[in-house]
Structures are given as structure tokens and as C-alpha cells.
């Protein structure tokens, strides 16, 4: 199964047509796939809170939106999640590269990884963790759930899910 294509196909099938991204090595393939799909307008952001602002505007303009980012961004976006996405009740699928988990080669990434789920829980953000490639089968349901409940929803995708870092 090509998970980059599966994620993109599910986004398209759920009418997500506006995606903003802040890059991560693990996400390079899915970002490239999204960039190539004519059904999706892809706009890279310089910072994740800016991206959430773009998504909020696009949503109010009638387009379902999503953000792709690293888990370090949770530290950047707490205020935006609380005072924009949650306060105004807007749906936002967040496809998150879960750096600092199993098969992570960079020690510093672990420092944010240990806070990631706690912060998401504190924010009462529904959170799913993809560890095995098969977990991606749930993605379609998660998107439907997100647009049903009008909340930000986190999908944490770790290195094992993406196939690790080769020999590292």
C-alpha cells in the first residue's frame, strides 16, 4: 500500500480541497502527492499558526481544509487552536509527523514527543496514533469524524508508520 497516495485519496474523497503544510522529512512523500493533485489547493505555510489561520479562512469560504505539520508545532499553535479553531468551532484535520517516537534518530525530537499527547489531551483534542501502516485504514473514518464534530483532530504518524529512517 502506498500510504502517501492513500492519505491523499482519502482527503479528496472527503472533499478536502485546501491543504497547508509545514514540512518534515517524514511527510515529504505525502506533501509531494498533495502538491501534484489537481483536486487540492496546496499552500505551504511559514509557521503552523499561520497555516491554521489560512485553514480557518478557507473553511469559512466553503472549502474543507487540513494542515500537515510536525508535532513540534503543537508547542507553536496552542493559542491558535484554543482561540480560533476551538472557540469558533471549526473542523481541522491535523496530519502530524510524530517525531521523537520509536525509530527516531534525533534525540532532541524526543523532548517534544514526550509532551505531545499530554498537550493534545489537555486541549481535549481527539487524537489518533498511526504506528503500523495498516493504521492508515482508519484515516477515512477520522476525516468523517472531524467534519461531523467540527473540532481539530490530531493524527499522529510516527517513524515506524512511515517506514523508519532506513539504516538509522
Amino acid at each position: 500500500m502506498n500510504i502517501d497516495k492513500k492519505i491523499t485519496d482519502d482527503l479528496v474523497a472527503n472533499d478536502v480541497s485546501f491543504v497547508t503544510t509545514v514540512p518534515c522529512k517524514q511527510l515529504a512523500g505525502v506533501i509531494e502527492e498533495i502538491d501534484q493533485r489537481s483536486e487540492i489547493f496546496h499552500i505551504p505555510s511559514n509557521k503552523e499558526d499561520e497555516g491554521m489561520g489560512l485553514c480557518a479562512g478557507a473553511f469559512m469560504g466553503g472549502k474543507r481544509s487540513a494542515i500537515i505539520m510536525q508535532n513540534t508545532a503543537i508547542g507553536v499553535t496552542i493559542n491558535t487552536l484554543a482561540t480560533l479553531t476551538q472557540f469558533y468551532r471549526m473542523p481541522l484535520p491535523m496530519i502530524i509527523s510524530y517525531r521523537g517516537e520509536l525509530r527516531e534518530p534525533v534525540a532532541c525530537q524526543v523532548e517534544m514527543a514526550v509532551h505531545t499527547k499530554a498537550l493534545l489531551a489537555q486541549m481535549h483534542i481527539p487524537t489518533y496514533h498511526f504506528h503500523w501502516q495498516d493504521d492508515v485504514r482508519e484515516f477515512d473514518n477520522i476525516l468523517k469524524y472531524t467534519f461531523m464534530c467540527n473540532k481539530p483532530v490530531a493524527i499522529l504518524t510516527d517513524a515506524n508508520f512511515w517506514g523508519g529512517y532506513g539504516d538509522q
Binding site: F18, F41, I43, P44, S45, N46, K47, D49, E50, G51, M52, G53, L54, C55, A56, G57, A58, F59, M60, G61, G62, K63, S65, N79, T80, A82, T83, L84, F87, Y88, R89, M90
Partner: protein
């Protein structure tokens, strides 16, 4: 002129367009001067007026004006390259540049010192950037809305605030009313 005087003057120009208004006093002032369903009031999230307005402009074809402040743009400077590189003609960014953080007690911003947001916007790749003095804003804003070019307006004005109440409208009501106006 101070910001509230500017908003009073441009209210008839922006009334029929989609407006995303910056957090704090700007939204409170616009709400008091000319509340419209086409106004989206930010109740929080300093810095994102330009991003929200730009996302809205990209998602649909109606004209969108983001009312921002110099302090808020400085908070989210990364917005300018994003806007520049994905320009859409139905978007106008109006930066009311009074050189101060008005909502928090008029502390000076760097835009009131050595930093020129006009030059920053140009350096970020925005093709049409107009710096204008407060009293001359009206026709410049009208021309920007009428044109097919995305325009960044930096409106230099005095700092100063008026006393007025906070917005008590529920955020979900603001959003719903605004989205209905977008669709209308």
C-alpha cells in the same frame, strides 16, 4: 487621525465586502461603528487577520479585506511571503500602522521606529504595496478593492484609542453569520 476615525471613514467603502477584522480594539470599533454580517470579528489569536482573510480569498471569489495592525503583522511576519507567492486579486490587506500596540496600552512597535512594513512587504514579493497617509486612505482602498491586483495598503496614522465595550456576540454566532454572508 486615529484608527477609530479611519474605520468610521472607510465603513461605507467596506460595508458590502467581506471583512476580517483584527483582534481587540479594531474589531470592537468596527462592531460599534458599522456591525455587518459580512464582518468577521477576531476575538483572539493576535496576528492571524491576514492569514484568515487570505485563506478566505483563496477559497472563494468575493472581495476580501483584512484589517490588520502593524503590531499584529509584526507578530506574524511569515504571512507576507505566503501572500506574495500565492497572490489573489480579490484580496486586500489593510495594515493600519499607528506605530503602537493600541489594544494593550499604546506601547511602541518597531514599525513606528526603524522598520518599514511597506519595505518589508515589497521585499517579501508583494507586487502592489501602497503606503498612504490616513486622510488619503479612502480612494486608495476603493481602488484596491476595484482592481484585479492584490494590494497591500500600509496606512500611517496616529496612535490613540476610544473607550468602548467588548464584543459579547458568541464566536459561533459570528462565524455562522459570516459564513451565511459569504454564501449569499
Amino acid at each position: 487621525m486615529i484608527r477609530s476615525e479611519i474605520l468610521k471613514e472607510i465603513a461605507p467603502i467596506i460595508r458590502d465586502h467581506l471583512v476580517v477584522c483584527n483582534i481587540g480594539l479594531p474589531s470592537q470599533e468596527l462592531h460599534m461603528i458599522d456591525d455587518q454580517p459580512t464582518n468577521f470579528y477576531m476575538l483572539g489569536t493576535m496576528g492571524l487577520s491576514s492569514s484568515i482573510g487570505f485563506g478566505l480569498a483563496l477559497a472563494q471569489s468575493k472581495s476580501v479585506i483584512s484589517i490588520d495592525g502593524d503590531g499584529s503583522v509584526l507578530t506574524n511576519l511569515g504571512t507576507l511571503p505566503t501572500i506574495a507567492n500565492n497572490a489573489t486579486g480579490n484580496f486586500t490587506l489593510l495594515i493600519i500602522d499607528n506605530g503602537s500596540y493600541g489594544s494593550t496600552g499604546d506601547q511602541p512597535t518597531y514599525a513606528g521606529k526603524k522598520t518599514s512594513l511597506t519595505a518589508v512587504a515589497r521585499a517579501c514579493g508583494c507586487d502592489t504595496v501602497i503606503e498612504v497617509q490616513d486622510k488619503d486612505l479612502g480612494p486608495v482602498l476603493q481602488a484596491a478593492i476595484d482592481s484585479d491586483e492584490m494590494t497591500i495598503i500600509v496606512c500611517k496614522c496616529d496612535s490613540g484609542n476610544i473607550k468602548l465595550p467588548v464584543i459579547t456576540m458568541d464566536p459561533v454566532v459570528i462565524k455562522h453569520r459570516f459564513m451565511e454572508a459569504v454564501k449569499a
